[in-house]
Each structure stands twice: as C-alpha cells, then as structure tokens.
Amino acid sequence: MNVYAPILVLGIIAAAFAVLSVGIAPFTGPKRYNRAKLDSYECGIEPTPQPAGGGRVSVKYFITAMLFIVFDIEIIFLYPFAVAFDQLGWFGLIEMVIFIGTVFVAYAYVWRRGGLEWD
C-alpha cells in the first residue's frame, strides 16, 4: 500500500489548508453583525419562512439519483471489462451486450414514463 502514502500526504496538506482558511476567517474580517445580516438572503425581502417539514424538492431529483446509481454500477462493470477486454473474447462481449441491453430496457422504461422530463 506504499502507493497510497503520497496520496495521504497530499490529502493532509489540502485538509490543513482548508481547515486553516475556515479557521482564520472569523478573525481576519470585521465583526459587525446585526439581525438582518444574519438572516437568509432573499434579495432584500423578509426571508420566506421555511415550510413545515423543511420544504419539498421535486421527485425528479430522486429519479435522477436512482438512474445515476444504476448507470454508475453499469460503468464500474464496464471498467474491468474494458481493461480485460483483449482476453475476454466474444463470450465476454456478448455478456456485456446482454447486460447493457437489460439496463437499457430500464432506461427506456424511465424515458417512456416521463422520468427524464424536466419542465
């Protein structure tokens, strides 16, 4: 796992920088707080009260995230497939076509049911 030690070093440097920046921010600037300043910004009007239950976001986001997971899983199978491609022969290729075909059916279903429409 020696190849990961340098990544750790870079990560620590980046983390130190980020934490330091966030840490010193309150001390470098002026502190003249008032109620209006600490309110949520809504272009000058009184902030809209957060609807009971924290508000709702369109269900489209959920569908998008679901589709994303499905395609992400497809992608992570495509990667070892691509790397080992030359050894796999026609059998591996046909397997992959069947796999992608099935996922494509799911994709087509979502499309037909309007899951990809944003309006």
């Binding site: 796999l88 099935t102 799911a106 899951g115």
Partner: protein, 182 residues
C-alpha cells in the same frame, strides 16, 4: 502486530464507532454524514487487504451515489431535516433485536470463514481490475446477468412509486401535453 494490521484495526474501529453514531444521532442529515464516514473507513479496509479496485468502487458507488440518493430522499420527503428530526420510534426494541441478530449472524459467518487467518501483505494483481474482469466475465456470468435484472427492477420500482402521486393529483389534463411531445 504489523503496521497494516494496526491500521486495519483503527479503520474498523472508526467504521463501527461512526456506524453507532449514525443510528444514535438526532439529526438525519448528520446521520447520513456519519454513514459516509463508515463507508469511507470500510473502503480503507478494502485498500489494506489489497482489493484496490473494490475500494474505489466502494467510494464511487456508496459514497458518491447511494448516500447522495439518501440525501435527496431526505430532502424530498416530508420528513423534517431540522434538529431532533431522527426521533426514535416505538419499533426501537425490535430494531435493536434484529440488528443484534444480524450482527451475530455476520460475525458467525466471518469466524467460520476466516478464523485464524492473518492479514498478509497484499499479493500483486489479486484485486486488480483485469483479474476482476476475468473473474466476472469468465466465472461469475450468471450473477452478473441477474444483477442487470435487479437494476431493472429497482428502476421500475422507483418510477412506479414516484409517478403515482402526481398523476393522481393532476388528473389527465396535466399529463396529456407532456406525453404528446414524443
């Protein structure tokens, strides 16, 4: 105890600790964040046993996709996301019993499968992408193809669950022009 074993123990400790916090914190979004830490620590464990590809897949799929979906789901349901949003339910005791049983079962499987084995320094190429590709597309063909059906079922389920509400609310008029587009 070698360096690798020590790190492995520490990471497992982090995973268990943050998993406990994930179920005990009173704020659902914080719970999701503790879950991220758990999953990240497990990815670290994978790295230590030489499963490099699996480790990054764990980060990409679980941290980068599944918990993001969870966060989206938290934000789009009516469930409040403010403080004290993860209140306990009356099912608490049942849930605790079930989780103890599951943990016991998993522990039994681990002990019967790996008891007495030591963490060896990772052998070269075992967890590499090419060897995993060979294994999936050579040996584990059927599970791989069945997985695509699972994905299909998951998506169809998501669509059925989410589309029903708006269609009933809006009735036909709102839907017709949308369909007419294709």
């Amino acid at each position: 105890m070698s360096m690798v074993e020590l790190t492995f123990l520490m990471l497992s400790g982090v995973a268990v600790f943050s998993a406990l916090l994930a179920v005990s914190t009173t704020q659902v979004v914080h719970a999701a964040l503790w879950l991220v830490l758990t999953l990240g620590a497990i990815a670290g464990c994978y790295l230590l046993i030489g499963a490099e590809f699996i480790a990054w897949v764990q980060v990409l799929i679980y941290i980068g996709a599944v918990v993001v979906l969870l966060l989206f789901a938290l934000m789009l349901t009516r469930a409040p996301t403010g403080p004290d949003s993860a209140t306990t339910t009356s099912n608490r005791n049942v849930a605790a019993a079930v989780s103890v049983l599951v943990a016991g079962g998993l522990a039994a499987i681990m002990v019967s499968g790996f008891a007495g084995e030591r963490l060896a320094p990772p052998r070269g190429g075992v967890g590499s992408a090419a060897s995993i590709g060979d294994a999936i597309f050579g040996t584990w063909v059927l599970p791989f193809e069945i997985l695509s059906l699972v994905l299909l079922a998951a998506l169809v389920g998501a669509i059925v669950l989410t589309r029903r509400g708006p269609e009933r609310d809006n009735g036909a008029p709102g839907d017709v022009p949308e369909r007419a587009q294709h």
